[in-house]
């Protein structure tokens, strides 16, 4: 049993987070501290600029953006080709992905690129999927994407990891994505 201090390693201010989260944030230093690997790991976060503007109140949802490199091999080819890509993985749980779809997979399929803006004073949705738990998803997404091109994936490696806050609009009974405009009912978010 370890006792880790919830103070910012840079400015010693209190970190922001819920009981069921693995990642805690310092808004003044603009860093996220990930505790999922058993020790403090700092990530500088960036805020995504919304593509769709709406009047409802917004909330930030945390995503992992993995820069990944892998080798893809077609059936009739001998030498695999090297592919580099970015994969979005939500840092929060979504219930029943089969019904509502994985938001990260949608972003990857639509080739959403990172467009940052200055961070706003919005509340934060608890981020309870640490980097240790999210790192298995880039390989799964890569296999899924390359399967459409009839290629097999080998030697997946994560080159860099970034943390991105994406605003979601909160309506009466659902969250609306500010990038693609798709809605997810409250029961789907965990």
């Amino acid at each position: 049993m370890k006792l880790l201090s919830l103070k910012c390693p840079r400015c010693r201010a209190d970190l922001e987070g819920e009981n069921n989260s693995w990642i805690f944030f310092c808004r003044s230093c603009r860093i996220g501290v990930d505790l999922s690997r058993g020790h403090e790991q700092e990530f500088a976060y960036e805020c995504m600029a919304p593509v769709i503007q709406r009047s409802e109140t917004a909330r930030y949802f945390v995503f992992w953006l993995f820069h990944t490199r892998y080798h893809a091999l077609a059936e009739k080819e001998q030498t695999p080709s090297e592919v580099c890509g970015h994969f979005w993985v939500p840092a929060f749980f979504i219930k029943n992905i089969s019904y509502f779809g994985d938001i990260g997979l949608y972003y990857n399929n639509r080739n959403v690129t990172l467009q940052t803006e200055r961070c706003r004073k919005l509340t934060l949705f608890p981020a309870d999927r640490g980097e240790a738990h999210a790192a298995i998803y880039p390989e799964v997404y890569a296999v899924k994407m390359e399967a459409a091109r009839r290629r097999r994936v080998t030697d997946t490696a994560i080159l860099s990891t970034r943390m991105v806050w994406v605003p979601f609009y909160e309506t009466e009974n659902e969250f609306v994505d500010s990038i693609l405009g798709w809605s997810y009912p409250f029961g789907a978010m965990v």
């Binding site: 049993m1 370890k2 006792l3 880790l4 201090s5 919830l6 103070k7 209190d14 970190l15 987070g17 819920e18 009981n19 069921n20 989260s21 693995w22 805690f24 505790l35 058993g38 059936e75 749980f93 979504i94 219930k95 029943n96 992905i97 089969s98 994985d102 997979l105 309870d128 999927r129 738990h133 298995i136 998803y137 799964v140 296999v143 899924k144 399967a147 459409a148 009839r150 409250f186 029961g187 978010m189 965990v190």
Partner: protein, 335 residues
């Protein structure tokens, strides 16, 4: 039993940590801490029902026709206790080829499916999952999403049941090209449950009610034998109506063959019917007057077992019947 004391690193003061609590703050120097217990964080579903509302829910559930009619009126409530029952919530992702090897090139054959299920975290939650429909627990969890953690409420009001320390984790790779991955991350979910204890003629009963939305998990009471007896009488009457015509036809047929056999056959049939009726009714009558049965109702599942034997109940009943018939007073004989 191992006792772990957690003290603040800065001032040495004791840290108030409840079960399932991951973040805490020192009461003296106000330093915040994250308690890494080597397992994923816990989620405590907030109790939306107070004890009075839980009692009202139990009273409404005791109106079930399977429970004895006078049971609800003569029930005296003893106490209400809030329990937190732990469950392990397992979430995972399964990715792989859905079809055989020759069709692997097909883009639709590869699938990524997410799934989740609930695992028991101790013996009691295992019992609950066996008895209950899992949908009751899952529906309660679904309703109580995004509820803030309330460690003070847990410490003051509830009894927190211990959970097994080792979380479930699995990773399988069945065939080289077919992968089945179960994500090891899971949460410990504490479901608050009200236990309402009440007494009826000196016997204690317990009912369990979900404190999240008031769903009755289990209702215990005395079994309504009279209803079953009435139903069996109605059933036998309708059976006799159905069988009346064939019996009459058989008697007519026998009368044509030998007229002297009619009274004998009729007497025999009546005797057989009476014996059958007695054989059918005797167990119910015996149970009605001699035994008490506790009935447990949870959803559509019902179980009953004998809880007490009323000593000499049949003798008392027969004595009272005789006195009623003879006109003797009841008061002088009872000590």
């Amino acid at each position: 039993m191992t006792v772990t004391l957690i003290n603040c690193v800065h001032c040495g003061g004791p840290l108030p940590v409840a079960v399932g609590q991951c973040i805490c703050r020192c009461a003296y120097c106000r330093n915040p801490y994250f308690l890494d217990q080597g397992r994923p964080p816990a989620v405590v579903l907030a109790s939306e029902l107070n004890a009075d509302r839980a009692r009202t829910a139990v009273l409404a559930a005791l109106q079930d026709p399977r429970i004895e009619p006078g049971f609800r009126k003569r029930t005296f409530f003893e106490r209400a206790t809030l329990f937190y029952i732990p469950f392990n919530e397992v979430r995972g992702i399964k990715a792989g080829w859905g079809t055989a090897e020759p069709e692997r090139g097909n883009r639709d054959s590869f699938s990524v499916v997410s799934f989740e299920y609930i695992e028991p975290a101790n013996d009691l939650s295992a019992l609950y999952l066996d008895v209950l429909d899992r949908n009751i627990v899952e529906a309660a969890m679904l309703k109580a999403r995004q509820v803030p953690f309330r460690p003070v409420e847990m410490r003051r009001q509830g009894v927190v049941l211990p959970a097994t320390p080792n979380p479930f984790s699995n990773y399988t790779k069945e065939v080289p090209d077919i992968r089945d991955t179960v994500e090891s991350h899971l949460r410990l979910v504490y479901l608050p449950v009200w236990e309402i204890a009440y007494s009826y003629r000196g016997m204690m009963f317990h009912s369990y009610c979900s404190a999240v939305d008031g769903t009755m998990i289990q209702v215990n009471g005395l079994r309504n034998h009279r209803r079953k007896l009435l139903l069996s009488l109605l059933g036998s009457f309708s059976l006799a109506l159905l069988l009346g015509r064939p019996i009459r036809f058989a008697i007519d047929l026998a009368g044509r063959v030998r007229p002297g056999l009619i009274p004998l056959l009729t007497a025999g049939l009546l005797f057989a019917c009476a014996a059958l009726a007695w054989a059918l009714l005797f167990p119910y009558l015996w149970r009605l007057f001699a035994f008490r049965e506790e009935i447990s109702i949870s959803g559509n599942y019902t179980s009953s077992h004998t809880i007490s034997y009323r000593e000499g109940a049949l003798m008392k009943f027969s004595r009272r019947l005789v006195r009623k018939l003879t006109g003797e007073s009841l008061e002088e004989s009872d000590p």
